[in-house]
């Protein structure tokens, strides 16, 4: 591990200012960053400790919730309002990691965790995300957990978060504070980047830009489901996952929010899928069509080919469960 400077920020503005220096990183739960520092995939020169900043509240705001960036995954999952109104989020959080990790991991940090691609972690392998221009050993290698959508010829790394998938379904937005003191709000498609030719950049955050909170809009009602398919029953990343919020009125699906994990290079959502379902009466044929639309551009890379037929089964199963319509 390289030596690094450690600074404890006294307030969010100071934190953002310090972190705008070259090679600085915020540290909160550290559940991913410390692992990466040990193997020197991350070699920050400065760590800005934000754990004492006052960003730990969950407050009601604009009919929805404002969740402080430092709220732990455990606390967020257990929050009464989240369990009542945003059940999909609570379920997604509890499907992720392990109890110990959830106690440490924070809301802001969860969004920013890096891919679990094995070649990103193995410094003897080629990885464009870790070392731009070096190549991608995952492409024809062990890519079982990697993406089938949103990939480029430079990178097929999947985004590992469960929480962010539910957040995407809920139209969450992150609030940030830049080093110059200005703030902004980003939707998740604005926060995250597809790998394209620059897979080393996971997000559009600027140097020193600090996620301070997450905003959830008004509750949607409906049935909330987070279905995660994985290689073991706990402590495994999603092979595929579906976050669903579905409301059926008078036999028609009037609320549809669907986001997907394990298949995309970012927490995935496809407006075409929801358009195909909204206002329609649930049916097996429609569910199959929704899966087809979702997977239109899906591309396997060998070991992860199975995700395509798997998702073709899982999405309809989630829709069946949500609508009560048997296949």
């Amino acid at each position: 591990m390289k030596s690094f400077a450690y600074e404890r920020a006294s307030d969010p503005k100071a934190a953002a200012a310090i972190a705008s220096r070259a090679h600085a990183r915020f540290i909160a739960g550290g559940t991913n960053l410390l692992d990466l520092m040990k193997i020197q995939v991350e070699t920050p020169e400065t760590l800005v400790d934000i754990t004492r900043l006052p960003l730990k509240e969950i407050a009601e705001a604009d009919g929805g919730l404002s969740i402080g960036a430092l709220v732990t995954n455990s606390d967020l999952a257990a929050d009464e309002r989240v369990r009542r109104d945003y059940e999909v989020l609570s379920r997604a959080l509890l499907a992720g990691a392990s109890g110990q990790l959830r106690n440490k991991a924070t809301t802001g940090g969860n969004f920013l965790q890096r891919t679990r691609c094995s070649y990103f972690y193995e410094t003897n392998a080629r990885c464009n995300k870790r070392e731009p221009g070096s190549g991608c050993d995952a492409m024809n290698g062990f890519n079982r957990i990697l993406a089938i959508l949103g990939t480029s010829d430079k990178c097929i790394a999947s985004h590992p978060s469960d929480m962010a998938v539910a957040m995407r379904a809920l139209d969450a937005e992150v609030e940030t504070l830049k080093s110059d003191g200005s703030t902004r709000r980003l939707t998740l498609p604005e926060l995250y980047r597809l790998p394209g030719d620059t897979p080393e950049r996971d997000t559009n955050l600027e140097a020193g830009e600090l996620i301070t909170a997450v905003r959830l809009p008004k509750p949607l009602g409906g049935t909330h489901i987070y279905r995660k398919v994985r290689d073991r029953a706990s402590y495994a990343f999603a092979l595929v996952s579906v976050a669903a919020v579905i409301g059926v009125e008078n036999g028609r699906m009037e609320t549809i929010r669907l986001a997907f994990g394990g298949i995309g290079t970012m927490p995935w959502r496809d407006a075409r899928v929801e358009e195909a379902l909204i206002g329609e009466a649930p049916s097996a044929a429609l569910f199959a069509k929704a899966a087809d639309i979702l997977l239109t551009e899906a591309k396997g890379h060998g070991e992860n080919d199975f995700k395509i037929p798997l998702m073709r089964r899982v999405l309809p199963a989630v829709l069946r469960e949500a609508t009560g319509v048997a296949a």
Binding site: M1, K2, S3, K38, I39, Q40, S98, R116, S118, Y119, Y121, E122, T123, N124, A125, D137, N140, G141, F142, R144, I145, V229, R230, D231, R232, A233, S234, Y235, A236, L239, F306, P309, L310, R313, V314, A317
Partner: protein, 740 residues
Amino acid sequence: MDDQTVFKMDEPVGETRLDTAAQGLIGKPLDRFEGPLKVSGRAPYAYENLAGDPDVAFGYLVLSGTGAGTIRSVDTSAAEKAPGVLAVIHDDNGPRASADPNDQRPAAIKGEVVHFGQPICVVVAETYEQARDAARLVKVDVETKEGQYDLLANRDRAHKAQNGAMQAEVTKGDFDTAYANAEVTLDVTYTTPSQSHSAMEPHAATAKWDGDELTIFGCYQLVSTNVGQLAKTLGIPKSKVRMLNPYIGGGFGGKLGIGPESVFAAIAARQLGRPVKIALTRQQVYQATSRRSDTIQRLRLGTTRDGRITALAHDTITSNSPGDEFFEPTGISTVFLYAGENRQITHKLAELNLLLSSSMRAPGEAVGMLALENAMDEMAEKLGLDPIEFRRRNEPEVDPQDGKPFSSRSLVQCMEEGAKRFDWANRPKAPASRREGEWLIGMGMAAASRKNLLQQSSAAISLSSDGRCVVSTDMTDIGTGTYTILQQIAAEILGLPREQVIVKLGDSDLPQAPGSGGSWGANSAGSSVFVAAEGVVAKIAEKLGVKPDEVTMKDGTAIAHNKQTPLAEILKGETITVTGTFKPGRTFKDTHQASYGAHFCEVAVNAVTGETRVRRLLTVAAAGRILNEKTATSQCYGGQIFGIGSALTEELVVDTRTGLLVNHDLAEYHVPVNADVPQLEVVLLPERDRIASPLAGKGIGELAICGVGAAVTNAVYNACGVRVRDYPMTLDKILPGLPA
């Protein structure tokens, strides 16, 4: 006064003090007495010795980033200039992996890279972090050559293995003819991947020299063997090495041979004149110690129409690195588990540029019985027989290979008891016939067997006048409960409360035991404690003027001829010390000895996703006398969990382009987590094997892993009708066979 007493097991034993159990300790489900030390952090593990000693330096291994080639140069200049660095030591005599326990020393680097992740050199610095950082600055220039990383692609280049843990080829009768003439035949090939032991404690060592004498705090399973391997590698006499291994955080075979951490720590400590510690990172444990081989196993069964096996072949191919001749004895149970006149069990070895393959929990059975017990299930279905009935029809009277009698064999009883307890009669008779919502429910069973291994072992017992007793041996406790069972044996025979018996283990200065491996530990070391304790009783009897078998030892007293005498009165301040040595004898040679069991499993397979969840798992085991019901049961739980992993999740993934072991951490090498493990049930059938050891016990540590994975996958087939022959049975392999 130190007496020696030797017992060689040439005849079966009769009733012993363990049967009369005057003290009432043997067999009891007692807690491991060192447990509180471990869970409260007071038991020092290898790396924690010399804690806070400012003289200690820290080493970090540099591993190869290529899979095969010749080392042209190792440029250490940048690393040497890094902060805190004391030395970068590139010693061609250093090990390229852990040692196989059967080798005199670990294979040396000798200028070659034979596998990805092979140790190249060690960086030593004032702190661990400095050493780790500087390790990245070492430039290893390798003239790469084309490596062989894929067992399937190399199957035709495999050669007949050298005889090792068993004969490489075991044949009887004329398999080909019998198979050709069989009324019903089955010809199936299974594959299993490389696996990693993944013990909780990463390999670690602390080395300290005092003149020409080395003290090594290690984590090894076989003290005497490992001292020899270390001494041989360093070129010093064995007598100059003191190894201390009192606490070991799991082994599973991964710590049977001396590891690169000890050798490099010793080399570095000698060069620097300071103590040196090395702990492998988790990633390094996966890449630089040892693995269980991947296997290709072809099973052919020929039977009569009514299910009598007439022809049985188990042809296996496993892998090892160049020059390493150990082969996974995959067919070891196939030799004796079922009857059949015409038999062929063969082992071929393919040379691959992969990490050393060596012993991992139940080497041979653990993967061989996955295939054998799946094949038995497939054949039973073909014959229209209940899998238990098929096995019962092929229960041999004597060892089917060489005709020796079994010392004891309760396989049929285990299957029957298990069937009753598991409600086997009500299993779904046809595959994919029971469904609960999205879940397909199935049941499967498999037999368990594990060869009983027994080794010479010595232990010393000192009994002092105040009734305190010290048991000493260089035996190890790798988390199995050795401390506690040796305490129980000594306390039972000497008639002492258990608290009065202190057990000292894992110190190479103590009498030599065979260590922990092959499930031989309890019976071998336990028998030596038995022999030593009987020697102490004989001394006491002598002092009382009676014969040893006239004495009953109980509560710190000796009872003979209706007179109860406190030890203090008998010993009068004297301490009796006896070293007992146990040797396997004729009974071991003249009989076939193994432990047996039966596994029953219920799984649910998700009809949408192919995910498998184990719902119930029962193991009925018979392994002679159980010395401690709790520790024995815990060993069985561990085996069951290993089996769930083998069946469903565990695979050390090889990138066949480079030889990289890709998933080299516990996040991606999937051992079962709690959520994968249902309520486990273990039933230990009462059995006494007076031929196997003076304790009347047989090995149990590895028994439960043998076959259990096949019970899981047989249940998967019964649940969903998909037969996968490529382990582990991850959902992607099941998915294509599921109904739309």
